[in-house]
Amino acid sequence: MARNPVTWLGSPTFPKAAHKALADTQLRQNLRKATGTIRARRAAAVAEMTDWEMLRVAGEQIKDDVLARLDTLLVQLEESVTARGGVVHWARDAEEANRIVLDLCRAQNAAEVVKVKSMATAEIGLNEALEAGGVHAIETDLAELIVQLGDDRPSHILVPAIHRNRSEIREIFQRRMGVEVSDEPADLAEAARVYLREKFLTTKVAISGANFAVADTGSIVVLESEGNGRMCLTLPETLITVMGIEKLVPTWQDLEVFLQLLPRSSTAERMNPYTSVWTGVTPGDGPQQFHLVLIDNGRTQTLEDSIGRQALRCIRCSACLNVCPVYERTGGQSYGSVYPGPIGAILTPQLVGDMHDKQAASLPFASSLCGACFEVCPVRIDIPSVLTHLRAEVVEAKGRTAESVAMSAAAWIFASASRYEKAQKAGSLARFLAKDGKITSLPWPGSKWTSSRDVPAPPQESFRTWWRKNRG
């Protein structure tokens, strides 16, 4: 079987890549500024909701229900999309998905296609596959465009160019668009508007991802900000949507939960500027040919793991990245995958499905287990528990060397080893504190400490408090 392109070929293991990234002060500065802004705004957007916790619980339960009935719901989705004039395709892996999309483009004689930002197509390496087949894919999301024009790799699931500041973006635009532009965000946005306008108005085939698909109605949902999504979903004659099989919700009503959870968690808005919903083909409005490509690419093997499968609840909001102290310091590219940060650390190795793959197996160690990701996750994915679970699997596959991997992966990310140890004690150990205040056993790697020495009682201060006081 071909390798899963969810990780980039030739990427170093996380500790190696992160070592290099830590030396890049510009990168750290850019990330610190961007994630700092969004953390504060997300907190405010969430604080406004009195029922946030109930929404999170409902989000978790709806997604668990989807995973429990995935086969039935997928067949139901297929029926409803087909009944409304769409065509449904199934792909076991990236290679199969890419071939389906390339054939569809060729059938339309399309030399160029416009694309709306989509994690699924990034995961399967669709752009490269299309290019090899003679079809050029134009990214239309501003951040994707910055990455594409800069011959760069994404570093964040919502804002793939988060590692670039405005003056770097200006430099890329001037070089690749051949225009004079200032580094004012409004001018940069205008430059992108002008650059893409003609493409939107003339391109016949568009490719999108999907945030949600409603099984009982066949409706597909895409949330966006700029209007590039609306352009792609409305103007071309043919629309090809590529979607992971877990992106379902059972009913239209279930969307009421996610349309509240997602915008506040991702861009810290009450609602994102544009959300498009379409069901098959509507005569006289929008693309008259609609293809839905459902991809597995490691999801069914993830589903088999009773602890790991909760990663499939993810709605790709990126809140866990924005709060992660490790991500903030190493940047997204160190994870060697389109899925970086805490979600990447649990999803990527499971999609790859090979604990002997050195790079993928290093990812569950890219964490201090502080728990901030779990706190913000809108679908309550217990990322720290999945991390410890996957670490144990890596150890089982590889033997005893993993503890040193763990330490080298995270300790030096913090300014000094003693601060890291303090973080460990305050954060991760406290998670396993028994009700009576005594620590009896810890999951690996803590188990090595509990078995060999007394574990000091964790300080009252949580890692979060500690981090807030000591960050930077």
Partner: protein
Amino acid sequence: MASAREEILARIKAARVPPAAPVVRGYNRQGPSSVELFAERVADYRAIVHTVSGVPEFLTSLRGKRIVAPADVPAEWLVDGVTWLHEPLSIEELDQADGVLTGCAVAIADTGTIVLDGGEAQGRRALTLLPDYHLCVVRADQIAGSVPEALARLEPTRPLTFISGPSATSDIELNRVEGVHGPRTLEVLIVT
């Protein structure tokens, strides 16, 4: 060899995921459908908002402009002095228009959102996408309090567009900047 479809469905079955607990919908399903709250939330997105008692009086501001209007807008909206553009319109014609005037299907007070469903006074989706200015008329009785109430009023199989403020991006240093590909000016007329 089994088809991809059969194989994926078989793998899902083989994973034997146990049934999930029933969904508890303990969150708020209703909210105040107040005109004031809606107006305030729309304005938060840097859209322009007016609360008026009649539409035609306001439309004099469009005089001298070339404005797209769906064929089924109320006749009284088509005031004199404006060049009204009606379907069939090409993509180029839409792109060159000064703006578009529509009604809406539903609005949401809690989030300051307007929803179009291609129904009465709204036209197909391209109409509200290509012109750089969108003037949207919202009747007070179209305002739902919450997202759940709004979704319950909508027909999911129609092509829907939820609009919350003008086109924007958060892609440069994670700060919101208005105005990328969709209409850069959104003006909302709330009719009470």
